[in-house]
């Protein structure tokens, strides 16, 4: 048993830390509350730092470090990825790469044609192209396999009709990565296919809408007789569901969430030590002390759940159950933490970043709102529990 990392991982950690010290503004608070949910990650909140910072990451190849060298990556170990994700999240650094790096690229490596690889992988490595994930529909949320967006063959083309929703960043993306129904006459999981094509394709319109964090991230995306060439299909027709569900060989520990929580907790602790309310420092309030201690331990437990996953991945063990544990636990923890932070501030915790009186520039207020999405996005807590019970524990359906 060894809870420590190898020396080369620790060296790499120093390298990432030095980079972050150098490249992030000295007073960097950032508004990264992505530990708390899925709705507040946005250039709008991170300001101009994001673009220049991202270019520097690209230069180091860090966003795609996990990719095979053959595709421009660095074949980084799971522990290296872990360290990178942990340090980035711990500093609240602007996020990088998104689904292009973590999901689309790897899927293309596995299921894409040579042409797909040529067309997309280099651009992703260079940070030049972005993707929106067109999965959820108004009628297909938790029950994702019931998507009804249709792709019908027409000669060498497909004609696509339907609607996606909660599509992150579609209004900014270059391409859409779309799950659509190609066969309506088979059980629902067996008639889906994956497509990739430009958002600019005629007939595609996206309508971004605000989430309750006041961030414009999600979209309704409409497909009105969208004609795409045959090579927009990725992998085999009707195998899209299985392709979408294939586990990819990445760090899947969820460590970023827990590192973000740790950072948020440290911000809170500093605030409590510096701030008087009702004649004493918040840090002296016994009820707040108990909750802070409890939540700090919760965060450490989460970090270990993540570390455990890396330990398993390093041994090439299946981590799907452990990942569900980390997601379920982490998302509920982040809600508690966001609430704790906002509660501790009393009425001041209700002030948004637009108020000069908002503590920590409204960090916890925003996290509180964002945390609504924590247990909804990427599989609701109910779905995670179903999965753990049925797949993990073998309970009958």
């Amino acid at each position: 048993m060894d809870f420590g990392l190898d020396p080369e991982d620790e060296l790499f950690r120093q390298e990432v830390r030095a980079f972050l010290d150098r490249e992030l503004p000295a007073d960097w608070l950032g508004m990264s509350v992505s530990w708390a949910g899925y709705g507040a990650a946005s250039g709008e909140l991170e300001g101009p730092v994001r673009q220049t910072f991202y270019k520097k990451l690209i230069k180091r190849g860090w966003p795609t470090m996990a990719w095979p060298k053959a595709y421009g990556g660095q074949d980084a170990s799971f522990t290296h990825q872990y360290v990178y994700n942990e340090e980035m999240a711990y500093r609240g650094a602007p996020e990088s790469g998104g689904i292009a790096v973590t999901y689309v690229g790897p899927a293309i490596m596995v299921h894409g044609s040579e042409e797909h690889k040529k067309k997309f992988l280099g651009g992703i490595v260079r940070g030049e192209i972005s993707f929106a994930q067109g999965f959820s529909e108004p009628g297909a949320g938790s029950d994702l396999a019931s998507v009804t967006t249709r792709a019908v063959r027409d000669g060498y083309d497909y004609i696509i009709n339907g609607q996606k929703t909660f599509t992150s960043g579609a209004h900014l993306a270059d391409y859409i990565w779309l799950l659509a129904r190609t066969n309506a006459d088979v059980p629902k999981h067996k008639g889906l296919s994956m497509f990739v094509f430009p958002m600019k394709t005629p007939g595609v319109t996206s309508r971004p809408f605000l989430n309750i964090c006041d961030v414009l991230s999600f979209n309704d995306v409409y497909f009105d007789n969208v004609r795409v060439p045959q090579d927009a299909l990725v992998g085999e027709e009707d195998k899209g569901w299985y392709q979408a569900m294939t586990g990819l060989d990445f760090e899947r520990s969820g460590v970023a969430r827990f590192a973000g929580c740790r950072r948020a907790m440290e911000l809170l602790v500093r605030y409590m030590k510096e701030t008087k309310w009702n004649g004493r420092y918040l840090a002296e309030d016994p009820l707040a002390r108990e909750r802070v201690a409890e939540t700090a331990v919760d965060i450490e437990v989460g970090r270990l759940m993540a570390l455990r996953i890396i330990s398993m991945q390093t041994r090439r063990m299946s981590v799907s159950n452990a990942s569900s544990v980390s997601k379920l636990y982490g998302s509920e923890l982040s809600q508690r933490l966001a609430r704790l932070g906002a509660d501790v501030m009393g009425p001041f915790g209700t002030l948004t970043r637009r108020s000069k009186w908002a503590p920590l520039s409204g960090f916890f207020e925003l996290a509180y709102r964002n945390s609504v999405s924590a247990t909804l996005g990427a599989g609701t807590s109910e779905i995670q529990r179903n999965i753990l019970a049925q797949r993990g524990l073998g309970l009958p359906r």
């Binding site: 029950d143 989430n211 609504v372």
Partner: protein, 377 residues
């Protein structure tokens, strides 16, 4: 013994619901979030005409002579409709403070105006350093020949940007006992030296910072007794807490109803999600929470109606309802899935309003502290 509403109250409830459904649609609620005034003067006038603004005032001031239970019925519906505007500060907190502590002149001057919709009055109590204890009233009113000169900062003043008057809790002396030295002054909100800045809370509910610099008030504008105003402040807090609880009950009930009907309609995996036990059990828990919230609030307003001491009951209500509403929202969010997170969907409006309401007139920690003092010394 009867925990239900009487016939008049049932009619008031129905009237209020119908009126607010047509006059206060969610489009208005959303518009008011961006509005510089934060409420609709037109709707305010209609509410005056319906007698709502003077509900708790006697007929001599143009009021309807209703009691606290009537008010709670109305407040539930307002909470359900998310009615924006200064109803609680003006028509409940300020109206009752002036009615109970005001001189005949003050009553004549202000109460009819409240009842007929001409006058908006808001309590200005909280300050940057602390709250809910007389010692944190640090805005000072220095006495001179002409009256008082106020300097200080008040925070979380509801609707100060549209208020005609503020009921400002200020320090007039250091006092002997810990609760002495606080005086409530009726301050003309357009006085020189007052600067109002919106605070921008999560609820976009028009709470303000009020900076007072050399603001002059005459002796005639002292509400109640000089240096003995803390009792009145506590009463305002209590009334605000009871009223806010009632409004939260209405909001919580609506959030619960939305979840139940969505659970019946929304189909996933080939069946209504309301047939899944995880959803069913959340709905059952919401039912329990809404029931509990309603009756702990009713008991508080009933006591106030009867002229009994309702301070402990209001504290119980505000703390319990705040927690219950939070639980109800968490379940309803979970049942609604992504919709809960979309700003265009109404649920988020309730979520954001509930967060502000939780802290208005004291959150659970504050009220439980008071309860603990009563129980444990």
């Amino acid at each position: 013994m009867d925990l239900g509403l009487n016939e008049t109250q049932e009619i008031l409830k129905k009237t209020a619901r119908d009126f607010l459904e047509s006059e206060c649609p969610k489009s208005l609620v959303r518009a008011m979030e961006e509005d510089v005034k934060g409420y609709s003067p037109e709707l305010w006038r209609k509410m005056a005409e319906l007698g709502w603004l003077g509900l708790l005032l006697p007929a001599e001031y143009g009021g309807a002579g209703g009691d606290w239970v009537d008010a709670a019925v109305l407040l539930e519906e307002m909470g359900r409709a998310l009615l924006p505007g200064p109803f609680i500060p003006t028509a409940v907190v300020a109206a009752l403070a002036i009615l109970e502590a005001g001189t005949p002149v003050q009553k004549d001057k202000h109460l009819s105006g409240i009842a007929n919709g001409d006058t908006i009055i808001s309590p200005a109590i909280l300050e940057p350093e602390g709250a809910f204890s007389a010692r944190f009233i640090q805005a000072r009113a220095a006495e001179d020949a002409a009256g008082y000169v106020i300097d200080g900062v008040k925070l979380f003043v509801p609707d100060a940007n549209v208020a005609d008057y503020l009921l400002a809790a200020v320090r007039t002396s250091d006092g002997v006992g810990s609760d002495d030295g606080v005086t409530v002054l009726i301050v003309d909100a357009r006085s020189e030296g007052i600067e109002v800045t919106p605070l921008v809370t999560v609820a976009a509910d028009n709470q303000c910072e009020v900076a007072l610099k050399g603001v002059r008030v005459s002796r005639a504008d002292v509400l109640g007794q000089v240096d003995q105003g803390w009792r009145l402040v506590r009463q305002m807090q209590m009334h605000g807490a009871a009223a806010t609880s009632a409004s939260m009950v209405g909001g919580a009930e609506r959030v619960f109803e939305m979840a139940v009907s969505y659970a019946k309609e929304r189909v996933q995996f080939g069946r209504p999600i309301g047939s899944f036990q995880a959803i069913q059990h959340k709905c059952a828990d919401m039912l329990v929470d809404v029931d509990g919230a309603r009756f702990i609030t009713y008991q508080a307003v009933w006591k106030l109606s009867e002229g009994l001491d309702g301070e402990a009951d209001a504290a119980m209500a505000k703390s319990w309802v705040g927690d219950a509403y939070r639980r109800v929202l968490a379940h309803s969010n979970q049942i609604h899935g992504g919709l809960a997170f979309s700003k265009e969907f109404d649920l988020g409006l309730y979520f954001r309003r509930a967060r502000a309401a939780e802290f208005a007139y004291g959150d659970g920690v504050v009220h439980r502290d008071a309860i603990a003092r009563q129980i444990l010394g």
